[in-house]
């Protein structure tokens, strides 16, 4: 998997993920993902490049979301494809971490 972090205006951190978020994929990004979001309180996770999501990948997303939320921050998911959206909905994650369909919506959702 690929992972890229970028700081947007307003102190927002954007994490762009790409590839298969399966056992191997989650192992490849787990440490960096935790590191990039360790002290952030406004996080957008861009899932548009993720082609597959298994429960191990949901674990990665949940752990980070819990940490961000635990320090009073906000986190959203941006533009997962149809299949990945279905997995998120079946797992009930869409009710815990909002899914946004545009960068503007995502920015507004995590803004303080």
């Amino acid at each position: 998997m690929q992972i890229e972090a970028e700081t947007l205006s307003g102190g927002i951190t954007s994490i762009k993920l790409a590839g298969r978020m399966d056992v191997q994929g989650a192992q490849e990004i787990d440490l960096k993902f935790t590191g990039y979001t360790a002290k952030q309180t406004a996080v957008i996770v861009d899932l548009s490049g993720v082609s597959f999501l298994a429960s191990i990948g949901i674990r990665t997303l949940l752990l980070t979301a819990k940490a961000v939320s635990g320090r009073g921050g906000k986190i959203v998911l941006l533009n997962p494809d149809d299949n990945v959206t279905k997995v998120l909905e079946m797992a009930g994650i869409d009710t815990l971490i909002p899914i946004c369909r545009s960068l503007d919506d995502a920015r507004s959702a995590v803004a303080a």
């Binding site: 298969r20 399966d22 056992v23 191997q24 597959f52 298994a54 429960s55 191990i56 949901i58 674990r59 949940l62 752990l63 979301a65 819990k66 939320s69 635990g70 299949n83 997995v87 079946m90 797992a91 009930g92 009710t95 815990l96 971490i97």
Partner: protein, 134 residues
Amino acid sequence: MLGEQIVIANQLGELRRMTEWLHDSGNVMCVANDVLFKLDLCANEAVANIITHAYDDKKHHDIILEMHKTAEGTNLVIRDDGFPFNPLEMPEHESPQGLAEAQIGGLGVHLIKRMVSRCHYQRENGFNILSLGV
């Protein structure tokens, strides 16, 4: 009946080879992409569970997967010689009220049950046999 089979070892590093097989076989059998996505997810969840929980020795075990196209749709059959385990008997996953209460883990079997339209488990001659249909 058109069918394909793969034998993988009980190592997590084998999951990508299994996935490649699943997509190659699915393409040969003209299985639709959304069906393949579901079977891909089910295979990854079920086989990762088997590799992680079904054995308490450090020996090599074969896990056998078969894909068949039938009149009802596409079936995936997963066979392992681990401890008897019927994933279909696992208690229903409860949706958490908020992030703080959300449990980490336990979602794999829930996703399998939600993804398939047919599922069946049997224990036969020391093997777990899980049949999943989409």
